[in-house]
Symmetry: C2
């Protein structure tokens, strides 16, 4: 195959294909050959020119999966004229109101059977989402008086882990009923932590979203 004048396109192509395959068959059961097979003529050498290992591709795939969500998080974090608590609430509302999360949802990935990918997302959540997005919001909430806690870092981690992992329909294959119950417990937990940011409107949307996801199964 001819050489591409814009190598980033090739990189993107590889990530596209890998993302789809990882979600469909799981990371471990997707071979480099499988990826090559959907690359349209590109070879093994091409892959290992752009990525140093299969693991390296996984990192890129995870970044791709979270980049949209992260953009939204950054946007809310940097908005002016909101208290920390309001931002936290907005953030949950937005994360639930995004248009049925692009292509990813069309395959209804089952991370519950994809250890490597799940682990990768877990890491991302703890090492990036929590400190880079949630924590600053909580800190602001502390200084503007809308949030009270002595442990902002740990609070940030716990909250986003509960939301991104425990309540993630891609990870836990919950029924609609179970999802609703989780939301209720989550709401109570948040209130217990002084964060009454889950209201009825959010609960309703949460259910609608779960229903949509369920249909794609």
């Amino acid at each position: 195959m001819a050489r591409n004048k814009h190598p980033e396109e090739t990189v993107n192509l590889i990530v596209d294909v890998a993302l789809r395959l990882f979600l469909e068959k799981g990371y471990e059961r997707t071979s480099i050959q499988d990826i090559i097979g959907q690359l349209g003529g590109l070879s093994k050498g091409a892959i290992y020119h752009h990525f140093k290992s299969k693991e390296d591709i996984l990192v890129a795939v995870t970044d791709r999966m979270t980049e949209e969500s992260n953009k939204m998080l950054a946007d809310v974090r940097d908005r002016a004229g909101f208290t920390g608590k309001e931002k936290l609430k907005t953030l949950f509302m937005e994360s639930v109101n995004r248009p049925v999360q692009d292509e990813i949802f069309t395959v209804a990935p089952d991370l519950g059977h994809n250890p490597r990918l799940l682990f990768s997302i877990f890491r991302e959540t703890v090492e990036e989402a929590a400190p880079d997005y949630i924590l600053p919001i909580i800190r602001q909430g502390i200084s503007d008086g809308s949030i009270q806690t002595d442990y902002p870092e740990e609070l940030a981690e716990l909250v986003i882990l509960a939301a991104n992992v425990w309540m993630n329909p891609m990870i836990f294959d919950d029924s609609l009923e179970t999802s609703y119950r989780k939301f209720m417990v989550f709401r109570q937990m948040m209130q217990g932590l002084g964060l009454d940011i889950v209201d009825d409107e959010l609960m309703t949307r949460l259910q609608e979203l779960t229903a949509i996801y369920q249909k794609n199964r």
Copy 2:
């Protein structure tokens, strides 16, 4: 090697070796050959006679890792003369008071770099520990009036996940300070859920335990 009249011993040996290697090098970087190498003369045939796959060995290893903990959980669960809430409290106290968790702690495993093993423990927690041990206790608490919730299943899951995963020093490489702060947030969360089962005595022991673990790093 001569045939063993008590094959369970062979099975145990394989699990012993695999457990050690999985903790030391991680599941994925431990090859079947590596295991054979420490079996003292046993061969591949032996392994694949007793286990149908490498994955199958992982399951056995995970069971081994959790069996002691599960025994304790079952014991507390089945005790007479305690309210649900008291049992829950006892359970946390016991889990923290066990003698520096046998051999496992001697290698100070880092599950944060062991995706497969972490995933396996995660599954165990959700699919066995929560429904089989925590849930019955919460149910009892509801009927004896010591615990109030409309969502026992979800509460059980959240509580044990927070304790077994988020606060697990094998998974999160937290400093003593950070661990303490997590405990505080956890305590607050539990109180918010109507479960004030974390008292000062528990907090103290929690810290001592973390300190011991830290030393082994």
